[in-house]
Each structure stands twice: as structure tokens, then as C-alpha cells.
């Protein structure tokens, strides 16, 4: 998935696919995770949020199912 590089201490890039509502998050460690059934709005808010780590912790972690790819 194409991911957009982001400026964050723990997340290096994020990507999204609208058809499948899949959010892809790449960590600074290089590990990549896909979150399922994520609304587009969440992705947009994530991308726009000033602190990616905080947004991720508050709105994504614990809300969506994920798989390490």
C-alpha cells in the first residue's frame, strides 16, 4: 500500500484504502500493521492530527482489529 510519510516519534508512515477500509501503519521499528474496517474520516483525522502518536493511541489502538503484515 502506498503510505504517506508522517512526522512522529513512533510512526513513520500511514496509508489507507477506501474500498476495503484498510488503514496501514508503519512504525519507526519497521513493523507494518493493517487495521480493518477503519472509516475514511478516522484516517483523515489521523493524517491531520498534530501528534500522530497521540491520535493513534487515543482513537485507533483498541478500537480496530489489526494484523501484522
Amino acid at each position: 500500500m502506498n503510505r504517506i510519510p508522517v512526522d512522529s516519534s513512533n510512526i513513520s508512515s500511514i496509508g489507507f484504502d477506501e474500498d476495503s477500509n484498510t488503514l496501514e501503519v508503519e512504525f519507526r521499528s519497521g513493523a507494518i500493521y493493517q487495521y480493518f474496517d477503519v472509516p475514511l474520516a478516522v484516517y483523515q483525522d489521523f493524517l491531520d492530527s498534530p501528534s500522530k502518536g497521540q491520535y493513534y493511541a487515543q482513537h485507533i489502538k483498541g478500537y480496530y482489529r489489526f494484523v501484522k503484515v
Binding site: 519497521g30 493493517q34 478500537y63 482489529r65 494484523v67
Partner: protein, 620 residues
Amino acid sequence: MAKSNSKRKMQSKSTYLGTIQDVIGTSVSVSLGNEALSGLTYVDGEGYRIGQIGSFVKIPIGYIDLFGIVTQVGSSAAPEKHDKNQVNGNRWLTIQLIGEGQRNGNFERGISQYPTIGDEVHLVSESDLKRIYGQPDKPYFVKIGHIAGSESISALVDVNKLITRHSAVVGTTGSGKSTTVASLLSALSNSKNYPSARIIILDIHGEYSHAFRGQANIFKVNADNRNQENELYIPFWALNFDELMQVSFGDFSNEKDRSALLERMLSYKEKTISVYPKKGVSKETLSVDSPIPFSLSQLWFDLWNEVFFTYYSDGGKKPVRENWAFEKDKDNRDIVGDAAKAIPPRFKPVKNVASDPEKIQYGTSTLNIRGQLETLGSKFRIPRYDFLFHPGEYSPDLDGKVVKDLDSFIGVLLRVLYEGLFWSRRLSQGGRHRPLLVVMEEAHNYLNENFKGIASNVVQRIVKEGRKYGIGAMIVSQRPSEINSTILSQCGTFFALRLANVTDRGHISGVLPDNLDGLTSMLPILRTGEAIIIGESVKLPMRTIIEAPPKDKRPDSQDPIVYDEKPTEDSLQPGGWGIPMEPNPNFEEFLEVWRAQNPLPSKVFKGEGKIKTLTKKKES
């Protein structure tokens, strides 16, 4: 007089520790000199603690220096029967001799002469150590860290001996084992120094793929193309007969069945080369072990028919194919099966009823391999075996799923490698001219004592004979006591990290190439990332701080996360007990991957990713 003068001069040196009082074999007892009372001495402005267990001492005798390692300090180090009431108290050291150094600096293992009573024992200073360890310019020495306690001295490992004489990396989980391996490998795979290095990592847990991405070709069952992984195939026809039988049919109950199978397989291979001639093998030289492709599923299918068929025997019909009693499907067609898809035919059960003129009898095969055929038939259909039986199709992950399969898999892989390199030993691509290092991670899983699998056999062969054909093994394990001791004792170099378990430690000290109890007793108190390197590829045993590779070259830790230590904004972990559960738990994917026996659900998005709706304007 001159002698005693010179002696006095030596004793006045700041490195002087004491005098030898007793020599038994390689163990030497030393009484500490009065001068060395303070416990701390200064040599060239640097402070040294006297009598540290594991520290080195030298014994100058004539033109050579003997080197030893301190293994015991205090009253128990005094020789037996010694009068304990001494003026200076019980200030004794026990030393194990290890080797000798010429005055010009060459150090060699083993000693040509013994010290004797009255010889002086001196502290080994940093400049001595530099003389022993330091040859940093030679390209066949690879640096993996520095000597513990002396940052300025690099820990150098001789590549030649490291690879051909095999090595073992042992240590408790969390002692820095993977980092040590990664550090070694990143030094060895440095393309500037070693443009032709050839290393295979059997990376059961997928720990290293991230660290060596870009440098390495990653082969994996169920590869992910986005991560530059290649699909791993091990064609079954590359195995020799016994191994193929082991992974396909299983054991035979008698020799007759086995030889029948052998004959069949040979005839299938013969058929192949008569249609597709191959260089290097002719009908005369072909053996059942020759790596010639053939259709195993066809062989299986033919055997299935032969063993399971039943036939209409009424009216004295012969058991030939046109009389076979196939079951019918709903369109009244014979269920003849499909060799390619591994679908067996179905035959009617035996029937002998007086009122029914139709009689069905068992076939006439004398082979007793029904069970084996059924086993193989199901293996054909189990995705776990696809890398072997169906290279190229949907396949599972090998990530430590089933240890039993792992063994045969690793054995098979090593086997193919070994055979290939063995026969190509005269070629430029062969092992003698371009040696191969095989790194075996989690080796206790497939090299354990009570296992008689292929892996154990092949590794034993690699370890025993591999040297001649240019194959070196590096065995990595946290449970060395579970590794076959024949295999372990062949390892010339040990990287021993922290090992707390007594059994493991005992096993290691039993097989170490140097007999140094003092060193192995340090194993439980080593720091993380600290290793004792003992053996042929180092000049002296060295206590080394392994230099960790850069962050992005480190192997992934395999420990599951219970509670991330980092604050949640900086966490690199998406899970753990500290994170609330999803509001509506859904185990859809959980079930799917279990049924599919594939860790990645079909939901995983593999495309580029599209966003049709216009993205909101970025707020500043």
C-alpha cells in the same frame, strides 16, 4: 647474584602479582606478593584490580610469556596440605594456563613448557592485551565489539576459523543472542570486505528478515512480495529416496514394500530422462537418489489404484482395469479421481451375496501400504506441505508452526545444500572456493538429543565433514543442553552469553574447546550483550561487549508484549494488556486464519491503496 638482582627488578615492576608455589597440570597456585596488598595497582597510569576472576595473568619465563586466567582467589586457592597460618594471610590465586606468547607478540594456544615454583606472575596490562588481540588491519579478522573493561581493544574474530571450524552462540533468552548473531552477520556480510560472502540463515521465527532486508534474499513459505520476499520451494524430487519416503509415505512395515516403492520411483525418473534428457545423468547412471523431476502425485495415484481397487468378479472376470468396480457419482460416471489434484478414485466395497449376481472382490495387490498412501494423499492436500509437494501454490507459513515438520523441512533444506556443495566442490561456485556459512537459529528445536530426524543427521554430517567441502555451521540456541552433544562438541568457537541454567552451563563447559572452569563460572553473571568468546577463532578467550548493530539492523524481538514500557504516544506496539479491547470483539479473521492455516487473513490489502473521496484540506 646477578639473577637475584634481576629478580628484584622484576618484582619492583608495578605489574607484579605474586610468585608460583605449586603447579599441577595446567593449574597453578600463586601466593600474592606483599607489594600487591592494596588490591589496586597502576600500570602506565591505568588502574587495575588485582585478583579479578576471569582476568589474565602472564608468567614470563625466558624468552616467552605464559598466559593464564585467574579462576580462584583466596584461601581455598591455597594448595592442599598448605599451612594456612601464614604471615600474609591466605592470599592465593589459582590460574589456568592457556597459551604462550613470544616476546615479539605472537600468541599461540597451548604451552611448550611449564612454569615452576618461584616464577613470577604478572598482571596483563592493556598494552599486553593489545599485543595478543590486536591485528585489526588483517581483513580476515572481523570486529564484533570490544574487550570488556578495555574499550580501546577491539574484539576480533578470525573469519577463517569461525566458519570452517563451526561455531555456537548460546545464551538465555534476553541475553543478547540475536544481537550477537546480527552483529556477526552484519560484519560478515559487509560487501566491501567480503564481496562473495555466502551465508544462509535458517530463521525460524522471521527475526532477521527485517534486519537484513536489502542485503539478503529472503525466502519464505508464503512470501510477501511487498517485503521483497521470495517464495521458498524445496522440490521433493531433489531429496534422496529415504528422505523423500520419510516426508511423504512415512515408514514401511516391511522391506518388500520399500523396495517396490524404490523400483517404481526409479522407473518414473527413467521415464523423465527418456523424454527430457538431462546432462550428467543417463539411463545407466541413473539412481533412485538422482535429483530428477517426476510426478509424485502420479506415482501415488497409480499405487492407490493398484492397492485399493476392487473388481467385478462375477462370471470369472479378470481383475483388469475394465472390470474395476468404481463408485458412481450423481451423474452415473465412474469416480476415477485425479492424479494432479491428488483426488483418489473411489471403489465399491466387496460384495458377495448369494441373491445378487453382481460379485465384487478385492484387488490382487500384495503391497501393504494402504496407510502410507492415505497419509501421503492427505499431505498433498495439506497446504503446510505445498512448498514441498506443490511448489508455487498457496502455502502456509513456516514460522515455527509445527516443530515436527520443521525438522524435516530444515533437514531437507540442509540436505539439498550439502549435496549440491559436495558435488560442486571443484567448481568456482562450490563450497571449497566459496564457503557457505549456515546459521541455525533455535537449533534446539531440531538438533536435540533424542531426535533421529533428518535434520540431526545432516547437521551432524555438516559439522563433521562440512569443513572439507566448505560448509560451516553456526548453531544458535538458548537451550544448549538439548542439543546433541556430538554436534556441539564439534564447534570450534563458542560465543557464550549469559546462561543461568545449571544444566545448560554444565553442557557447555563439557564441550568447550578450552578447559576453563573459571570462565564458565562467569556465565550466569554476564551482562546483556556481553559474551565470552572461546575457541579457535580467537587468540585468547575473551570477555567481549558485543557491539549492537544500528537500530534498523537489529532483529525483531520475539517476546510478546504484555505491557509496553514506553508511554503510549511513543509506543511501537499496537497491542498489550494496557490497551482496551475493541468495543465489539469480532473473531472473524481469527477463525479464518485458523481454518486456512495461514497467519495472514485474506482481508490483508495487497494493492496500492486508493482514496476516491477528496481528502480534507490539511489544517495548519
